[in-house]
Amino acid sequence: MRKVWFLMIVCSIAFLLFKSPNSVIESMITSSTNAIELLIKLLGIYAIWLGILEIVEQSKLNIVLSNLLSPIIKWLFGDVDKQTKNYISLNLSSNMLGLGNACTPMGIKAMQQLDKNHHSITASHQMIMLLILNATSIQLLPTTVISLRASFNSLEPTNIILPSIIATAVSTLVGVLGVKFMQKLFKGRNKN
């Protein structure tokens, strides 16, 4: 992230110095406004989902869910403590249902829990696994894309569902296998 950010900023500004130095300041204003706008939207929707999550936790439904998903989590993450498992299972199930806004706060909680048991500033395999699962999420119905297509008078707006599902399954598989491979390659590193 550090490197990407550095490259993006430096190259862009270097370019703009020749093209239109003015737009650097313009970008400062537009980007900060957009970011705040998004933040306020996120604040609202996260508050609702975190509220719902709390109800799920209080009613012990998360434990039921994590017991159901236990074998999958065990295979993906190895041994994790109970609390982490609960958050991961909530994150994964909301992910599969396509509840993008719901899975993020739960994923963050799972990540914090993993962070608590991890004593290094380098991400662990388990953390990366969680990130990969979310970054290549299995989304069963890409609803936004379908409705966008429909609004452009597509004859068959849903005929992209099947390729999308297969493509996302492939990407998830590649990601998971990649983490597993790295785990084998750097076996000792997770322990220290």
Binding site: S12, L16, K19, V24, M28, T30, S31, S32, N34, A35, L38, L42, L43, Y46, A47, I48, L50, G51, I52, E54, I55, V56, Q58, P105, I108, Q112, D115, I121, T122, A123, I128, L130, L131, I132, N134, A135, T136, L141, T143, V145, L148, F152, E156, P157, N159, I161, L162, P163, S164, I165, I166, A167, T168, V170, S171, T172, V174, G178, V179, M182
Partner: protein
């Protein structure tokens, strides 16, 4: 497809009923949980600004066009239509940016064209990787993500290749 609109309402309905049967004070729990959103967004704020600023500069400077020109032959080699290069570059950073790039494709080539369908699969099957990585690690002490981002990018790229191939067949 319409079944999907029932998922959230139905789940929520049964959750509240179930919790009440289990003698959970739903109102109090909800308020307690919602409160945590403030802290979460408080921690998120600086990262969000950083990523938005960089992305805006990146777009305004025209670097996107130059990079996508460089990328085109590479994409061609992997069977992805080169018209998608801009979408492919923006998608990992921003969800709304990806959607507007997709919209451009619809306008240019029509929603039912092969290129647009590939674009749809690309957007539908990938995620905003940099954005997710930033958010997920924003609440932790992690400073080095190690191989996380390259692997996520490779995985999504492989997914995109397969998706474009499938669009040709189906």
């Amino acid at each position: 497809m319409n079944a999907s609109i029932f998922i959230i309402p139905v789940l929520l309905f049964f959750l509240i009923i179930y919790a009440t049967i289990k003698k959970v004070n739903c109102y109090a729990s909800f308020v307690l949980g919602a409160k945590k959103a403030l802290e979460l967004c408080y921690n998120l704020f600086p990262y969000l600004i950083a990523i938005f600023f960089a992305l805006e500069l990146f777009k305004v400077s025209g670097l996107v066009d130059i990079l996508s020109n460089i990328l085109s032959p590479v994409l061609n080699f992997f069977g992805i239509p080169p018209e998608l290069s801009q979408l492919l570059l923006i998608r990992p950073f921003s969800g709304s940016g990806g959607l507007s790039a997709l919209q451009d494709l619809f306008i240019k080539y029509g929603a039912d064209s092969y290129i647009s369908r590939c674009g749809c699969v690309l957007v539908g099957s990938s995620e905003t990787i940099f954005y997710i990585a930033t958010i997920y690690f924003s609440q932790t002490k992690i400073k080095r993500l190690w191989y996380a981002i390259p692997l996520a990018l490779v995985a999504c790229f492989v997914g995109a290749i397969v998706g474009c191939l499938l669009c040709k067949i189906i």
